[in-house]
């Protein structure tokens, strides 16, 4: 659609500023006495976020506390922002595990592809948005940090229930 300019025919003669003022004051008075306020008193109360909210990552662990990740390399491959660094390792029984697993949360665009592609349901995005650090370097989350996170993980979109009902 082309941008358009609307030329308003501004009134010159018959304008009532008195009535406009009075109606404006009624309007503000209505808002003044209206007990419904839109502010959320943030640290004390929070707005509920969607179950599909995609925030900073979390690595789920097995019962013995190890990361579920098998270092298959799908997530660094699918990642459009190229923010996952994975160095695979292998133990004496031939099980693959990540030697290095780092996510740069600054590069991450929180698309959620890593969670969708993960065959082991290991890496998840979290329902979490309070991220403050003292340095940029601490936004590169390593494996230890990722497994230590405890916030709830985000839900994947379910095609049979597209609205999440």
């Amino acid at each position: 659609m082309a941008p358009t300019t609307r030329v308003l025919d501004r009134p010159t003669g018959e304008v009532s500023y008195l009535r406009a003022t009075l109606s404006g004051m009624t309007q503000t008075l209505k808002h003044l006495v209206n007990p419904h306020k839109v502010t959320v008193q943030y640290p004390h109360e929070r707005e509920s976020i969607s179950p599909r909210w995609r925030g900073t990552h979390r690595m789920l662990t097995t019962e013995d506390g190890k990361a579920k990740c098998v270092a298959c390399g799908l997530c660094p491959t699918v990642c459009p922002a190229n923010c996952i660094k994975l160095v695979p390792g292998e133990d004496e029984r031939g099980n693959r595990y990540p030697l290095v697993f780092e996510i740069d949360e600054f590069r991450c665009i929180f698309c959620g592809y890593c969670q969708e592609v993960c065959p082991e349901e290991a890496i998840h995005l979290g329902r979490h948005y309070e991220n403050a650090e003292y340095s940029r370097a601490s936004f590169v989350y390593d494996l230890e940090r990722l497994t230590a996170q405890t916030h709830p993980v985000s839900q994947l979109w379910d095609p049979t229930d597209p609205k999440g009902e």
Partner: protein, 431 residues
């Protein structure tokens, strides 16, 4: 040596219903009144900043300060501490003497005006009747006019001494605005003085108690005075001296810490004074409506407390209106401000003085006694006619002119035709 109060009391020679004459009781009670009024005033001003933030927040569907203390009530104290701890900055090229002097010059007249305002009925004391005004001057009203005009010096000097273009513009605007509206303000109160026959504020209150409140008898004067007080206190829609969007912060752009804080404090102090003056001149001051017992001797402590309560309610109502209007109306354009002051308010005020003076003269010549129902009724009818005429006349876009009104009719049509030929404009018009 003046006699001390105690022996006089023992002698029982003093009637509590007669004004104080002895030197020491008068001095001491005045000092006590001064201390009480000053502290109540300063605390009140501090709480007004809180009220302003709360009311603005509620009008905008927010909560306002909520963190410091219960419902944010201690925010005032936090702000005070902050302002005292902050660094005092001086612009390199500022005129330092005037720069320091200006906040004081803004602050002192703001406090001084309150001295003559009577805030309750007289209080009987063992040493005689105590007037409930810090200084019940015979020239009360003239004193407020004289002192309130001094406030502009603080603002102009602040703008000048800062050596900053925005500050200077703010100061200039302030002086132009205050001088323009002071005339309309003074003229609008002439009608009040005509009815009272005196400039003493207590006399004006007692006149209203017998005749009916001036807001009913002199509504036009009230409307003019009301608008002029907004201009005098630099409150929206007349806050051009501050005008954040154009002048950063106007005259106090360069100020910091407590020197800055003195400007808002004096603004709020001026608001309190303006509200008190509006209630004294037009809403019967400490008079309790629909009763007469509160205006007549013998004076008692109960009467003083009740009238004080009513006066406080009136003042608080006007203070609320100040804030309510601030968060409703946008700022005037400079030419609108000037044309409202000089082309509307001043002529209307002058014409109204003539009308009221003529009416009073005619009533006096017809031997209608002042204070009777006939006198008040005649004035009321005249006033209703004036208000109706004024509203009908003003209600046609004459008060605040749109930008287009400065063009001649033909020129406006030519410009509209040019706008109509533009392809983009035509697309917009067809919607």
């Amino acid at each position: 040596m003046m006699p001390l109060p105690a022996p006089a009391l023992l002698a029982g020679a003093i009637d509590p219903q007669l004004p104080m004459h002895d030197f020491w009781p008068f001095t001491l009670t005045t000092i006590v009144k001064l201390a009480i009024v000053f502290s109540v005033y300063m605390v009140g001003v501090a709480l007004l900043t809180y009220a302003e933030r709360k009311i603005s927040a509620w009008i905008q569907d927010r909560h306002g300060p909520m963190e410091v203390g219960p419902w944010g009530l201690l925010q005032v104290a936090a702000d005070g501490v902050k302002n005292f701890m902050k660094e005092e900055t001086y612009p390199a090229a500022a005129n330092k003497t005037l720069f320091i002097l200006a906040p004081m010059l803004a602050f002192i007249p703001a406090l001084l005006t309150w001295a003559v305002i009577p805030f309750a009925s007289p209080l009987p004391t063992p040493w005689g009747l105590m007037s409930m005004a810090v200084a019940d001057l015979p020239v009360g009203f003239l004193f407020t006019l004289a002192i309130s005009s001094l406030g502009v010096y603080g603002i102009v000097l602040a703008g000048w001494a800062s050596n900053n273009k925005y500050a200077l513009l703010g100061g200039l605007r302030s002086s132009a605005q205050m001088i323009s509206y002071e005339i309309a303000m003074g003229m609008s109160t002439v009608a009040v003085l005509l009815l009272a026959g005196n400039v003493n504020l207590n006399t004006i209150i007692l006149q209203q108690a017998t005749m009916g409140w001036n807001v009913l008898l002199l509504s036009v004067a009230f409307l003019l005075f009301f608008v002029a007080t907004y201009a005098e206190t630099n409150r929206l829609p007349f806050d051009l001296p501050e005008a954040e969007s154009e002048l950063i912060a106007g005259y106090h752009t360069e100020y910091s810490a407590m020197k800055f804080s003195l400007f808002p404090i004096s603004e709020y102090a001026n608001m309190v004074t303006a509200s008190a003056l509006t209630s004294v001149l037009f809403f019967g001051g400490w008079d309790i409506p629909f009763t007469t017992w509160d205006n007549l001797p013998p004076w008692t402590v109960t009467k003083t407390l009740l009238t004080l309560g009513f006066f406080a309610m009136k003042v608080i109502f006007f203070l609320f209106t100040f804030m309510w209007i601030r968060w409703t109306l946008p700022r005037f354009r400079y030419d609108q401000l000037m044309s409202l002051g000089w082309k509307v308010m001043l002529p209307v005020a002058l014409a109204y003085v003539v009308v009221v003076a003529g009416a009073v003269l005619a009533l006096d010549m017809a031997h209608v006694a002042r204070g009777t129902k006939a006198f008040s009724g005649a004035l009321l009818l005249l006033n209703l006619a004036c208000v109706a005429g004024l509203v009908v006349w003003m209600d046609r876009g004459r008060v605040v002119s749109p930008a287009a009104s400065r063009l001649r009719g033909g020129e406006l049509n030519r410009l509209r035709a040019v706008a109509g030929r533009s392809r983009l404009a035509r697309v917009g018009l067809e919607r």
